[in-house]
């Protein structure tokens, strides 16, 4: 086994060159390059973490905006609904009021007409009584030659009409 057989002759050279090579690796690569590479990795990890946080924040803001938008839409819809309902109820009330007023006017007119009718009827009746009484006076005078006074004729006509 040359590793053992040659050890006395070669150990110094082996150790010397190993220390030089390993020392170079340690100081140049391990101490010089490795921290830079690790710093790059750390910077990337941080960048990713901060980007993720920013994205999360942006999503939160978007959610908030959307919620506000929804709330406003909801509000506007409620306001529109209220306005239409108000308008509708106002229109209904107005219509009812006008119908009532029209009803009242019509009723008043009907009552007036009724009263006029009644007056006319009463006047006609009175005129009929008058005419009847005069006719009765004349008939009595012609038939019997008795002059009946107007009051008596009227009383007889009234009695006959009432019967």
């Amino acid at each position: 086994m040359p590793q053992i057989a040659q050890i006395a002759a070669t150990y110094a050279s082996q150790i010397f060159w190993l220390l030089i090579v390993f020392g170079l690796i340690y100081f140049v690569i391990g101490k010089g390059m490795l921290p830079k590479i690790e710093a790059t990795v750390d910077a990337r990890d941080q960048k990713i973490a901060s980007d993720l946080a920013a994205a999360e924040a942006a999503r939160g803001a978007a959610d908030e905006t959307e919620a506000a938008y929804r709330a406003r839409i909801e509000e506007a819809r409620a306001a529109a609904l209220k306005a239409t309902q108000d308008a509708k109820s106002a229109a209904t009330a107005e219509a009812e009021k006008r119908v009532k007023a029209a009803d009242e006017a019509l009723a008043a007119k009907a009552a007036e007409a009724d009263a006029a009718l009644k007056a006319a009827q009463a006047k006609a009746l009175a005129e009929i009584e008058n005419v009847a009484a005069e006719a009765a006076q004349e008939i009595v005078a012609k038939v019997s030659g008795i002059e009946v006074d107007k009051a008596a004729a009227e009383g007889a006509v009234k009695a006959a009409l009432a019967a």
């Binding site: 002759a9 070669t10 050279s13 390993f22 690796i25 140049v28 390059m33 690790e38 990795v41």
Partner: protein, 261 residues
């Protein structure tokens, strides 16, 4: 062993041969630039190229950058789960360890033999894995005593140990603690060595079977070749697993030192 199986010696792949600088030495120790050192440098270069590809630092990573970041993320995630936030300081060390072992293991599996360059697995050498294990263990010791002083020894007495058991438990725990660098270094060394020997032995069966004639091709070479495909895939898996185990155990030992259970 080598003589019987023709020219194929499964141990030859572990031979260290100086490439240049045979005369170089520090305090009397020869530090020639060997094939092992060359493959360490190849590992370093491959790792450097891989990492530079991940240094674009784009916010949206490309494929290469994503691959590099998955490795760094894997190691820093392992440190975070095993040690906690305090483990971040040790991520560069464990990452270096993990990547060096992983790429050295995989480089040893590269089929560079087809262009005449013998692949050499740096981590199949006890000296290399031993040094890495000793570095890990030293960091554990230094961190443990730095943070907790002599209170660090309470690591060897688990909570709720009855008083009369403490001396025995202490010795056992101390022993298991001191054995860690050996198990750490030997595990990687043995796993890589055994796997590579098995691959070379099977490859030797295939080649020698072909040389011996049609009958041996049918009964030796083809089954060996099929087996070798599986073993190669298994070895690639072992390359990753052993790098992971080394890094994981280092992080667990660091956790002991930092958090004291």
């Amino acid at each position: 062993m080598a003589a019987e199986s023709g020219k194929i010696d499964p141990m030859h792949q572990f031979m260290i041969e100086p490439l240049f600088g045979q005369g170089w030495s520090i305090a009397g120790h020869n530090i020639a630039f060997t094939n092992s050192a060359m493959w360490m440098v190849v590992t370093l270069a491959a790792l450097l190229i891989f990492m530079i590809g991940g240094m674009k630092r784009d916010l949206v990573p490309g494929r290469w950058q994503a691959a590099v970041e998955s490795f760094t993320g894997f190691v820093s995630g392992m440190m975070a789960t095993n040690i906690g936030p305090e483990g971040k300081k040790f991520t560069p060390y464990v990452f270096s360890l993990f990547m060096f072992i992983l790429i050295a293991n995989i480089m040893g599996m590269m089929p560079t033999g087809v262009v005449g360059v013998h692949p050499f697995t740096v981590t199949s050498h006890l000296t290399v894995t031993g040094v890495l294990a000793v570095i890990s263990f030293s960091i554990v010791l230094v961190v443990g005593f730095w943070r907790h002083g002599f209170h660090f020894f309470s690591l060897f007495v688990p909570h709720g140990t009855p008083g009369y058991m403490i001396p025995m438990i202490f010795v056992i725990e101390l022993f298991s603690f001191l054995i860690r660098p050996f198990s750490l270094g030997l595990r990687l060394f043995v796993a890589m060595t055994a796997g590579h020997i098995l691959m070379k032995v099977l490859a030797g069966f295939v080649i020698n079977g072909i040389n011996a004639g049609a009958l041996t091709v049918a009964i030796v070479s083809i089954p060996s070749f099929i087996l070798m495909i599986g073993i190669t895939l298994l070895e690639l898996l072992v390359c990753a697993i052993q790098a992971y185990v080394f890094a994981l155990l280092t992080s667990l030992y660091l956790n002991d030192a930092i958090n004291l259970h």
